[in-house]
Structure formats: structure tokens, C-alpha cells
């Protein structure tokens, strides 16, 4: 090997890529040639520097956080603002709230524009499909004609279009409002109305979620349309207004059914913003539902796909992932297994074995089972069965009517009629195990026939709602308990007192029915008692004036941090602001907020907070809401220094109006309307 050949092979030699023979030749040359040896050493030295340099970066991965920020800036998505946090916080007390007015505000904020794609000349179905090719995150809302709040879906898919993770919110189901997350390894359901949480693993949800994805995924919908058009099933009319700021439309008329759909397209991006579904009734077109695609490709934070971090304290947790639940079927028939499951459940209640109670009660953890059933004092089982099949619900589902003798706290005995719903296979890993998934309402055991029960039985849903709110307003808790049976020792009772005590009734409307809910919804508007919170202020900035840096609850727990990406600017009259005390700053901010003086507000909070406030309130206004009434009125108190947090705080009180629907039902032993949700 000569010098030229050696140098050609030096890198391969250092990398150990030469064959045995070549390697020996190279080494022999290096031994003999000082110049090549020096070259070898120089390359090896440089390589070591590069290796060390590269090693310093080992394990670093900032692609996702960077892209999140980049894409967020593209779309300027909605962020928490002081107002929205206050609204959420206020209603976040949610004593089983079906939904909140904050949700109404949020729901009407519909961001349409998404990616900054330069405008193509015209669009057709192919272009629309093309536009979706990179859609990996999707956020969709569906509005049913008879529903008051939209269902909402957040879906993350992989490149071939398979759902990877999903979250969805169904506001109106037989179980009340439900939030669900799904991944192949773990599913979570938060029954918001029922204040329950279940974690389990299931394959059953997968195809369902995939079909939801396909319904929600415009790409597949559009492909199907194209196929249907080719097959002559639908007629398609494409309308492109010449003005690019206007939405274009693809109107689809079905040839075999009296229905029509309109796909509204953003002409700048070629993405669908809305689909309207119409029923054709003669010459009339009746809007039956609509779907809105709010965000395309706005990355969905991973925490959205797990609900554990969002649960309020009063939610009862059941776990079917880490424990074997229920009662084994063995040689029993389905009817026998259902009845036996119920028998074992009530026997466990008699024995006060709450671990077992929880395992049969859909896997609820012992502490929650004790909390839920601890006040139920079952003396004996009077009768059980026979089991009644419920094939409409699930193939092996049964109702098992039973009678139990219970003893009330005053020693009074009564018979409690219950009808647990029992079924096997909730836990797919143990399909032969039966468990109770509903039909037991321990609250019923607190429902006593009142001495003057007849008077309450006669009340209409509206009268019951009025009487309930009146009792809250007067802090007449004995009376409140007649509409909301619970033990006075129940932790929720104290929270309810704090939340509702002294409220002011503004109006109670006409009750209505909705969906499959067996009770009534009663619209109401109340003024809630004040809510205490704190704002954190700081003047550690170049302008040397106090600005707001965070919102904290009354116990100084952080609710929302206000991030000053750009330092507060030095104002023209900065001195005047620099002289303001923490309390004066908070007062000035909330005063500006009450007047919607955006310019003034921006002197105290980051610009994004003001922008989002502005946008949300403008949207609420457009939707016909009286925003001045909805927005909290804030009273500012004194400032104090927290040594623990090393910061100044200002005490504040928000006064707020709540407008929503109270759910009441009378299918209970006392036949009177009782509170069932909606606060």
C-alpha cells in the first residue's frame, strides 16, 4: 500500500471497515510512514472531538416541544385567561355539574383558520383530500338538533390514519355527561354527572373509536364521497365564491334518501370547517346536525389523553386494570350468576366488607366504596330476584330486583327496594366474572317518606327547583336535604353549603325533557355567593412596576400562571404605574376588565391574556349573551406578602351569575322531585 492508497483508506481503517488483508496492509504502511501516521493521528483526534461533541447532545429531543410552540403560534389557539380561569374555577366546584356557562363561552369560540397554507386557485374534492394528508391531530365538535351542548372529539392518529389516542366528551347520554379517553393500553371514563371514574382496558372501544375517527376524519369522509359520486349514489355541486375570504361549499345530495349535506371549505386552506346535515322534508330543508372542525394539526397535549390529573376530589375511582373484579360464574347459569352477584354484594354490605363491595361494584376502590355505601346500614336481605334479562342494553345484562331491610340513623327501619344492573365481561381479561354496573343508588336509602310527603309529591319540577333554590338562599339546610338527600356528614354537604348558601334567585324557567334522561331539566339563573381568590403580582421587571403573574385560589394554590414572554414594557407614564401598590394594580386591572378597557388591561397582564379575553367575550356577545352579566364582577381587598411563595398577593372576591339547568327526577320511593345534577 502506498501513501495515496493509505490515505484513501484512513477513515475506513479508523472506522474498522477494512477487510483483514487491507487492514494489515494499512497498519504496515502506517508503521513505516511518519507523514501518514501524522495524518491518521489528526483524523483520529478530530473524530474524538466530534464524538465528544455528539455525546454532549445524546438523548436530547426537543422536536415535539419546538413544534408545539411553532404550530401553536401558527394558529394562536385559545389559552386560559384570567376570566376563563375564574369562570372555570367557579364552576369547577361542580357539584355534579352537567356543564357550565364557561363551557358555553368556550364552546362558541370556534377557531376556523388553521395552517398558513398559501391559497390555491380553486378547490375540488381532490384538493380537499390533499389538504388533509398531514392532519395528525383533529378537534371536532358535533351539534345535534335536540342537544344543548356539542359532543367534542380530540383525536390523534398515525400516518396511515389509524387512531392512536382519543378523547371525547359526550354531554348528554343516559349516564349524564361523560369524558372518555382511549389508548390501546388503557381506557378511562369520567362520568361527570355521576362523579365516577373508571379505568380499564378494552378492545371493544377500538373499532368504535376508529369508526368515530373515520366519521370525524374529513379525509375518509371525502374519499367516500368521491366513491359515492363515481357509483352514482350522490350528486355533488361545488361552489367556489370568487372572494377567497368567503367559504366555499360542496353540496352533496343523496339520490336514494331525502337528505343533503353541505361541506363548508375554507378556500385559503382547502380544509373543511363545517359540515351541515339536512333532512329534506318536501321542499323544506331541516338542519338535523352539524359538525365543526375547529383545529387541524394543533398538537394535542399528551395529558389530554389521560383524565387522572383532571379529576375533582369528589370523584369515586374504580379500577379494572389492576385488580380482578366481580364474582366468577363457575357452573351457574346467567340468571343464577346475576342473582348470586347481587347476593354477595349485599352480604358484603351487611358484613361491612367494603373491599368486596367495591370489587363487585364495578371495581370501585375500597376507600370510595366505603365512602359511598358506609352510611347504608343493611340489616338483612329480604328477597333477591328473579333476574330479568335486559337484552336491549347488553347481551348478558340483567336487572335483579331485590328488597333489603335497612336501619336509619334514628333507628327507624324500612325496606329498600333496589334493582341492581348486573353483567359479565366488563373486564375483558376475565370475561366470566360478573359485576354490578349500576342500578343501586345509596342516596335512596336516605330518601325518607316525609311526614308531609304528599305536599312535596304534588310539586311540579319547576316548583321543586324553586323550593330547592329558595332553601339554599335562606340557608335552610334541613329543607335543602329534602330535595338533595344525603347524609349531613357527607363531605359534599359542606361544600354545597359554601357554594350555594345565600345565593340569589334571578329566574327559574320552564322545565324540559332531553334525550333519554328520565327526569326533567329546569333552566335557572342564580347569583352565586362570592368566590375568594388571590392574584400574585410582581415588580421584578425592567419597567419596575407591579404586574399580575398568576391567579391562585383562596388557599394559595396556583390556578393559572400568566407568562410574560416579553417583559412588561416601560410605559410613557411609567412612573405613575410604578408608584401603584399591589392592591392598586389589581383594582386597576379588574376595573379595566369590567369596562372591557383592553388597552388598560394590557398594562397589567400579558397581551395574549387580553387578546383571548377579548376574543372570547366578543364571541359570547355575538352569540347573544349578555357578557357583562356573565363575566365575574371582582372586588379587590388587601395585599399581603407570602413568605412561602416569596411573592405579593392581593385578595379578591368574584361575584358571579350562573345560568344553567337543574336536573330533577322523581323515580324514587318517595315520588318527589329530587336534585340529580346541573349545579
Amino acid at each position: 500500500m502506498n501513501c495515496a492508497e493509505c490515505r484513501d483508506n484512513l477513515v475506513a481503517c479508523i472506522e474498522g471497515l477494512l477487510g483483514h488483508e487491507e487492514s494489515l496492509q494499512c497498519e504496515a504502511h502506517l508503521e513505516a510512514c511518519a507523514a501518514c501516521r501524522a495524518e491518521y493521528a489528526a483524523i483520529a483526534h478530530l473524530q474524538q472531538r466530534l464524538v465528544a461533541h455528539g455525546r454532549a447532545a445524546a438523548g436530547v429531543s426537543i422536536v415535539e416541544p419546538v413544534m408545539r410552540r411553532v404550530l401553536q403560534q401558527q394558529t394562536e389557539p385559545e389559552r386560559n385567561t384570567i376570566t376563563s380561569v375564574l369562570l372555570k374555577h367557579r364552576w369547577g366546584f361542580g357539584l355534579g355539574a352537567v356543564a357550565s356557562a364557561a363551557a358555553i363561552i368556550i364552546a362558541i369560540v370556534v377557531a376556523t383558520s388553521v395552517l398558513n397554507i398559501s391559497a390555491p386557485k380553486a378547490f375540488g374534492i381532490e384538493q380537499v383530500i390533499e389538504a388533509y394528508n398531514k392532519v395528525r391531530f383533529l378537534h371536532v365538535k358535533t351539534f345535534g338538533a335536540a342537544e344543548h351542548e356539542p359532543a367534542e372529539f380530540w383525536i390523534k392518529s398515525n400516518d396511515p390514519g389509524q387512531v392512536e389516542e382519543a378523547r371525547y366528551y359526550l354531554p348528554e347520554t343516559e349516564d349524564g355527561a361523560k369524558l372518555i379517553t382511549w389508548t390501546p393500553e388503557r381506557s378511562e371514563i369520567w362520568f361527570k354527572t355521576k362523579r365516577r371514574f373508571l379505568t380499564f382496558q378494552t378492545k371493544r372501544i377500538a373499532p368504535w373509536m376508529q369508526s368515530l375517527l373515520e366519521q370525524s376524519q374529513p379525509q375518509s369522509v371525502m374519499k367516500k364521497l368521491l366513491d359515492d359520486q363515481k357509483a352514482g349514489k350522490v350528486g355533488i355541486d361545488i361552489q367556489n365564491p370568487p372572494e377567497k375570504q368567503k367559504l366555499g361549499a360542496i353540496v352533496v345530495t343523496h339520490k336514494s334518501a331525502p337528505k343533503k349535506e353541505i361541506y363548508w371549505i375554507d378556500q385559503k386552506t382547502d380544509l373543511i370547517t363545517r359540515i351541515e346535515f339536512y333532512r329534506l322534508d318536501g321542499t323544506n330543508e331541516v338542519l338535523s346536525s352539524r359538525t365543526e372542525f375547529c383545529d387541524y394539526n394543533v398538537p394535542i397535549e399528551e395529558k389530554m389523553f389521560s383524565l387522572r390529573g383532571e379529576l375533582p376530589k369528589d370523584v369515586r375511582i374504580a379500577d379494572q386494570l389492576n385488580q380482578v373484579i366481580g364474582v366468577a360464574q363457575g357452573n351457574m347459569t346467567d340468571e343464577q350468576a346475576a342473582a348470586e352477584t347481587v347476593r354477595q354484594f349485599f352480604q358484603a354490605l351487611i358484613d361491612k366488607d367494603y373491599k368486596k363491595v367495591g370489587l363487585i361494584w364495578c371495581g370501585e376502590l375500597e376507600e370510595y366504596a366505603k365512602e359511598e355505601f358506609g352510611a347504608v346500614n343493611v340489616a338483612r336481605i329480604v328477597s333477591i330476584g328473579p333476574s330479568v334479562p335486559q337484552p336491549d342494553w347488553v347481551k348478558h345484562g340483567f336487572r335483579v330486583p331485590c328488597e333489603l331491610e335497612i336501619i336509619h340513623s334514628d333507628g327507624q327501619k324500612s325496606v329498600w327496594k333496589s334493582s341492581p344492573y348486573v353483567r359479565p365481561g366488563d373486564d375483558e381479561m376475565h370475561p366470566d366474572r360478573w359485576n354490578i354496573t349500576g342500578g343501586i343508588n345509596p342516596g335512596e336509602t336516605a330518601v325518607k317518606i316525609l311526614p308531609d310527603n304528599a305536599r312535596y309529591e304534588k310539586m311540579t319540577p319547576k316548583q321543586a327547583a324553586e323550593a330547592f333554590f329558595k332553601a339554599c338562599a335562606e340557608k335552610n339546610w334541613d329543607e335543602v336535604l329534602k330535595f338533595w338527600p344525603m347524609s349531613g356528614a357527607d363531605e359534599r354537604f359542606e361544600r354545597m353549603k359554601e357554594y350555594l348558601g345565600g345565593l340569589e334567585i334571578l329566574s327559574v324557567g320552564e322545565p324540559y325533557k332531553s334525550g333519554k334522561y328520565p327526569g326533567w331539566y329546569v333552566p335557572y339563573e342564580i347569583k352565586l355567593p362570592p368566590m375568594e381568590f388571590n392574584v400574585r403580582v410582581s415588580n421584578s421587571n425592567s419597567a419596575k412596576r407591579y404586574v399580575i403573574t398568576g391567579i391562585y385560589d383562596s388557599k394559595l394554590r396556583l390556578q393559572n400562571e400568566l407568562k410574560w414572554t416579553n417583559a412588561p414594557e416601560v410605559l410613557v407614564n411609567n412612573d405613575a404605574y410604578a408608584k401603584m401598590s399591589p392592591a392598586e394594580v389589581a383594582r386597576a386591572y379588574f376595573e379595566a376588565q369590567s369596562k372591557m378597557n383592553w388597552v388598560e388591561m394590557q398594562k397589567f397582564v400579558p397581551a395574549y391574556d387580553v387578546e383571548n379575553d377579548k376574543r372570547q367575550l366578543e364571541e359570547a356577545k355575538k352569540a347573544g349573551m349578555d357578557v357583562r352579566k356573565l363575566a365575574p364582577v371582582t372586588e379587590v381587598g388587601e395585599a399581603f406578602w407570602s413568605a412561602e411563595q416569596s411573592a405579593w398577593f392581593v385578595k379578591c372576591r368574584a361575584l358571579q351569575i350562573k345560568k344553567w339547568n337543574l336536573a330533577v327526577r322523581n323515580d324514587n320511593p318517595a315520588n318527589r322531585y329530587l336534585f340529580d345534577g346541573g349545579l
Binding site: D8, V11, A12, L46, L50, I62, R69, S118
Partner: protein, 184 residues
């Protein structure tokens, strides 16, 4: 086959922000390493690297020579590092902590000749260096990734080393001259 920096920059400018992902992926390693050298702390370097990419994306329209994306990114990162250092120092002063002993990062890249030398390499050579040392691929893996024969990879590496050494020599001798002038 991956696109060139210039092509990715152009795609982003044409309204495909998702494509920026590939530039971040390509340069996160060397940028992070450079910033670790400047700031001496991994978590700060990570923060600065994120900020640099975000700022680069915001200013992408202003980039005159898209083929020099990385060199331009290094310039941004240098400014971010300096800002971050000052803000850290301010925070420390606010807390009345004793004056930091940490040296303020220099304005130019003279102290980081290797980073700068990598930045000015022609893209073909830089790509191989990045894959080999920052993504930790073997030569065979680089060959697979770039769909080129193994021999071409080692030859490209060999040429890249030669260019790097040339560049380093020029920079390091220039530094010596400056240092000697300033500190006789």
C-alpha cells in the same frame, strides 16, 4: 431521500410549517451541543435550543440564504444564549446571590470553532457528519439512510474531515492572533 435545508426552508415558507420538524430533528443535536458548551448547563441549553428554533421559525422569511440555515441558526442561538445568560445573572442578583463566577458568553463564535466549522461545511458533508456523530449512526447505517454505497460514505467523511480541519486551522490561528493582540 431527505430534502436539503434549502428545500425544507422553502416548504415552510410555502405554508407547510410541519416541515420545520425535519430541520429541528436534523439540527437539534449539534445546536444543543453548541449551547451546552456556551451555557455550561444541559437544562439551560435545552431551553435555549428550543427558543432558538422557535425564533428561527418566526424569522424564516427573512433568511436570505436558505442553504445556510444552520449557520444562521447558530447566530440566533448565540444571541439567545447571551440573553439567557444575562437574565440568569439578573435573577441571581435579584436574589442577592454572590456575584456569579460564570463568564459571559462571547459575541462571536470564536470560542466554538468546531460548531462554526460544521456550520459552514457544504451540506453534503455536513449531513454525513451530523448523522454519524449527532445521531450516532454507524457508517453502514449512514449509507442505508442516505441510500449511498458504504465507500461513498467513508469518502465523504474523509473529505468532510479535511474541510473541517482546514476550517478549524484557519479559525484557531485567527483566534490566536486576536488573543495575542488583546492580551500582550
Amino acid at each position: 431521500m431527505d430534502l436539503t435545508d434549502e428545500e425544507y426552508v422553502q416548504r415552510c415558507r410555502d405554508g407547510h410549517p410541519e416541515e420545520f420538524r425535519l430541520l429541528v430533528h436534523r439540527y437539534q443535536g449539534p445546536l444543543f451541543s453548541y449551547l451546552t458548551g456556551r451555557l455550561g448547563d444541559r437544562s439551560q441549553a435545552e431551553e435555549a435550543a428550543q427558543e432558538s428554533f422557535v425564533r428561527a421559525f418566526q424569522s424564516l422569511k427573512k433568511l436570505r440564504k436558505p442553504e445556510s440555515f444552520y449557520s444562521w441558526l447558530l447566530g440566533i442561538a448565540g444571541r439567545v444564549a447571551k440573553e439567557q445568560f444575562r437574565s440568569l445573572k439578573r435573577r441571581q442578583q435579584d436574589r442577592e446571590v454572590a456575584e456569579t463566577m460564570m463568564p459571559e458568553p462571547a459575541d462571536n463564535h470564536a470560542e466554538y470553532p468546531l460548531d462554526e466549522a460544521i456550520a459552514v461545511l457544504p451540506e453534503t458533508y455536513r449531513q454525513v457528519i451530523l448523522l454519524r456523530f449527532y445521531e450516532g449512526l454507524s457508517c453502514q447505517e449512514v449509507a442505508q439512510r442516505l441510500e449511498m454505497p458504504l465507500g461513498t460514505v467513508t469518502k465523504t467523511l474523509s473529505r468532510a474531515y479535511a474541510l473541517l480541519r482546514q476550517e478549524l486551522q484557519a479559525r484557531e490561528s485567527a483566534d490566536r492572533t486576536i488573543n495575542q493582540t488583546e492580551h500582550p
